[in-house]
Structure formats: C-alpha cells, structure tokens
Amino acid sequence: MRSGETLIPVLGVVTEIRRETPDVKTFRVSAPGGGAVFPHMPGQCAMLSIPGVGEAMFSITTSPTTKAYMEFSIKQTGLLTDWLHGMEPGQQVAIRGPYGNAFPLETELKGKDLLFIAGGIGLAPLRAVILYVRHYRDNYGKVDLVYGARSKEDLVFYEEVSKDWASSEDMQVHLTIDRAQEGWEGNVGFVPDFVRSLDFSPKCSTLVCGPPIMIKLTLDALWGMGFDRTKTFTTMELKMKCGVGKCGRCNIGSKYVCKDGPVFRCDELAELPDEY
C-alpha cells in the first residue's frame, strides 16, 4: 500500500546509458510500465537512490514534452555517482520527486528573447528548458545558447548541441572551450569573457547554469553589460536530504533551495545572505 508519502521513493528502470564526457553519463529512466516516472517542469529535480549506497538530488534534463522517459546527466563525484556510473541498462533505481520550482516558462519567460549561458554539466538543467522552448517554439523570441567547458571532450550533449541545435533555424549556438586544442574551430576562452564579446542585447531574459565560480563571473559580466537582475535566472545547488523544506539542510537565509529553488531570480538572490 502506498501512502503518497513523499520521502518514500518509487521504482524507475534505467533503459539507456550514454557517455557524454569522461566523467558525465546520461541515464534514461522510465517507470516500470513505461513513460516518465512522474510529471515535472523544466528546472525541477528528482531524488535518485540506490538502497544502501546513497540518495541525492539531480536535475531532470529532459523536457516534460517527452512523455516516454526522463533523463539525468550525472557527473561522477563520489560514492553514489560512482555506483550509478557503473550500472548497466535494466538496473532499477529508487526515485522520488519532482522537487523544487521550475523556470517560469509559462509566465515571466514567455514571449521573451532568451539567452542561455551554461558551463560544463550546467547545461543539464538548461537542456530541459531548451527542449521545452523548441517544442513550443512560437511562444518565445530569439534563442541563443552560450556553452563552454574545459575542453571539447567535456562538452555534454555535444552531438545534440553541435548538430541538431547549431544547425537549426530555431536558435543560435555559441561554443567555447578553455584552451585551444587540435580540431577545434570554435571560440577559445572562458564563458564570461566570451559572453562579453558577443554583444547580446541586455533586454534578453537570461538563464545561467554551471559551476558556482562560473555563475558568479558570468553574472558579473552581465551586470557590467547592463543586464537586468529581474530578468536573469540561475540555479543553486546545495546538499539535500528531504527535498521538501523540512530537514533544514539546504537553506540560504529563509529560502530552501529544494523547495523555493533551485531556480532563483537574481534580484531575489541578492536579498539572501551569501551562504552558497
């Protein structure tokens, strides 16, 4: 019997595993009878666990417009993620969610020119948004993606980004890597510098995701270019246990990242103590 208790996970089945980079893999997960395990909106997360190994929060990298499955792109960083990286298709996982808010795609972002800026694995949550926006393409204005990683091999979803997205009429893709390398014809340099060089209109609504230091420097670059904090969104990542604002672990001031985030508008973030 199920009580609907959010702390108790349900079953998911890993149906496909793709290697994205030397330390990132994408896992496709469906409900045992097929289909996404639960509905979600882009930006929301799920708790994945392997009993006896651990449980952690991961962003859902697919859009709710994909009904057949959900995907998670996960970087290998510790016990649980080591285990996940070692598993094979057919493995069952315990999953609960969705948790957190989402990017305001049906409200504040609707009809706007969108500038996505991602660093490394930070493209995972933004991919959910981009897939959603491309599905409902007429609801949004111009779409640009600036995406960077240490090297070409560290760009996640490389095929999809460089082939499908870059060649589509729907959007403009601007790639950069930190250091020059054989066979790379795109930009070389850090994301914040690249953003400065690209001359975007500060009127865009901007979504920034990536490692904390990349987010910080990118936001500084945006403020320097006259971007508006009330139209700039980013995501936060803190340690989590419950996912529902009760266990007391993931707060920044009075906000719980698991419940009030992970998506924050930068003017709201500026009000909070600098504890992230």
Binding site: M1, L7, G52, R249
Partner: protein
C-alpha cells in the same frame, strides 16, 4: 472545569492507560524523562522540564521510513512505518506544548510529513501549569503562559487537588471516557485556579529573564544581524556538539540514512544538527564552512528565517533547556541580549 483529589491520581492514570499508552515524567537512573507509565510508578511533577522534550513523541530521534530488497538489477520498495499507537502524554509544560505549533507548521506544510501527521493524530497532550517557573524559563517572551498552558487538556495541581480543563475535541472525548472519576470543580474550584494562575504570574514577573525582549528582532532588521560583528565573540566557546539542538523542542533538522539489516536495506531518518560540520558538506565545498556560520545558522533560523516564513512566529519557546544543557553556557538568551543591542554602538 473538573477536579479530582491528587491522592486519586493513580486511578486517573490507570483509567487513561487502560485504553491508551500513557507517558508521564518518571524517574529512571536519576533522570526525569517522559516514560511509559505502569502501576506503582511515581509521576514526578516537581521538575518542570523532562530531559527530552515532547517533540520526541511526534518526531522521534530515529524512525523507519522504508525497506528495500534488492536482487540483481531489481529493487523491491516497501513502506516501513513503525507501529502506530494511540497515546497520551501527561505533564507537558506550556513551552513544550507551544513547540508543537511551531513543528506543525513545518511538518504539515505541503507535502505534509505523513509520519509526523499520523503521530499527531494519535497523540493527546495533557499539559500541567507550572506552579513555580524557574530562572531559566522565558516562555512568556514568546507569548506563552506557564499558568495557562495549551494542549488538549490543561491541568492545575493546587492544594492537593487536580483541576482538569479540556480544550479540544480530543480532550473532550477523553474527559467523557473518564467522567466518572471527576467531580465538578464548581465556583470554589474556579476561584482556586484563578488564584493559582495569579500566583504563577507573580513569580513570572520576578524571573531574571522577564524583560528579555525580541523587539529589535521583529521586521526586516535581521539581515543586518546576519552581518553583526558580535557573532564572532558569541560563537567563540561553542564546541559544535549539537546538544542544544537535540534537547530543543523546536529544532527539527534530520538526516536520512540506509542500514543493511542483513535481509534488506532499511531506510530511516534520524535527528541531525546544523551545528555539525558535515551537515551541509558537499563534494565541491561547504556553504557554511566555519563554526561561526553554523552557530549563526541555528539562531538566525529561530529568530529570523522561521519568523520570515511564518508570520513573525519565532522558533523558540523559551523552555531554557539549552541554558541548562550547553557545556559552555552559551544559549539563545545570550544571543538575543547581545544582538538586541545597537549593532554599531
């Protein structure tokens, strides 16, 4: 209001315990704690605070959540709730009773915590007025009244008589069941209780923490408090032991862990503490890396963050447990006094 001679309290306990588990302040190994009452056990109302708080009944230190069985690539998931029981906690003080409304707001917030919810449904609280509030008591600071405690039933122990006033549906139902034991308190009884309350009020007025004021904490001034230079000296002696969080009736941080039982993995939750250095530790860093940051978190949560999310309600009930238990004599009243003065004076 009803009454019963204190000499007949055993009978009252026995009647309650005939249908519900009854917990009372009992002495075991020199410690007075809420424990299951059995015939012949002496209730101890002479000490105001039990070692643990009433929170332990609704949000126990550890509790089971789920059981997993794994074989090959397959996982079987089962809910694993600890057995439910209808229970009565008798002898809860105003402060602890007040802590439940603070916890309710956290655990009832959607999605509600069904473990907590079930226990709250099953549990009945009988409070006892504090005839002699102590020098570590400051529940009055949070609008609680030691002379008129909340709960499903409130009890006064005055002049060898127990006065019984039921206040909720649950309380009325229990009273109905026990009705034969009681007599009407009558006007004289009401008068005795009124006088008892007034006497308690006089003691409260003379308490050393009587004038502890939160005035300077109300409103938006709290972010200024976050940056206050006084945190440095306040946190200096703190050991980060977490004692204050475990004895506190309103602290509710928890962890979720797995345990291999040998025939399945049991997932349980247990109390955790924001005072511990690994509480927020992640692979790529720690947002509260210093003891100062962790110390500040505990008090900012109670005095600023919680009130911001809950219409100004503070997450402290002034029970004073942290005052008596902290090994280095640090506590929330020192924080309130120190930060309550002008920051830059």
């Amino acid at each position: 209001m009803l009454k019963l001679p204190v000499s007949q309290m055993e009978e009252l306990f026995a009647s309650i315990a005939s249908e519900q588990s009854l917990y009372l302040p009992l002495e075991t190994n020199g410690l007075i704690a809420f424990s299951r009452w059995e015939e012949g056990k002496q209730a101890r109302f002479d000490q105001l605070h039990c070692a643990g708080s009433v929170k332990d009944f609704f949000f126990p230190q550890t509790e089971n959540l789920a059981l997993f069985k794994t074989s090959g690539k397959e996982i079987h998931i089962e809910e694993n709730r600890d057995p439910e029981e209808a229970f009565v906690v008798f002898g809860v003080r105003a402060c602890d009773a007040g802590s439940l409304s603070i916890l309710d707001r956290v655990f009832y917030d959607e999605p509600a915590d069904t473990f907590y919810q079930t226990r709250r449904r099953q549990g009945l609280i009988i409070t006892v007025a504090c005839n002699a509030p102590e020098e570590t008591c400051f529940c009055h600071t949070f609008g609680l009244d030691a002379a008129d405690p909340g709960g499903d039933v409130a009890v006064w122990l005055l002049e060898d008589m127990l006065y019984w006033d039921s206040r909720t549906e649950k309380g009325h139902a229990l009273t109905e069941r026990l009705r034969g034991l009681f007599e009407e308190a009558g006007d004289q009884g009401e008068e005795t209780v009124r006088k008892g309350k007034a006497d308690i009020g006089k003691i409260i007025d003379r308490l050393p923490l009587r004038d502890l004021s939160l005035e300077r904490f109300a409103g938006d001034g709290m972010m200024e408090k976050f940056d206050a230079p006084q945190w440095e000296s306040l946190q200096e002696a703190c050991l980060g032991c977490g004692t204050c969080t475990f004895v506190c009736p309103t602290c509710h941080c928890y962890d979720i862990r797995d345990f291999d039982t040998g025939h399945g993995i049991r997932r349980f939750r247990c109390w955790d503490s924001c005072m511990f250095s690994d509480f927020t530790l992640m692979a790529h860093g720690n947002p509260r890396p210093s003891r100062l940051a962790r110390f500040r978190q505990r008090f900012m949560h109670k005095l600023a963050y919680y009130p911001e999310n809950h219409e100004g309600l503070y997450a402290c009930v002034g029970c004073g447990r942290c005052i008596t238990k902290c090994p280095v004599s640090m506590n929330i009243t020192k924080v309130i006094k120190t930060l309550g003065v002008d920051q830059h004076a």
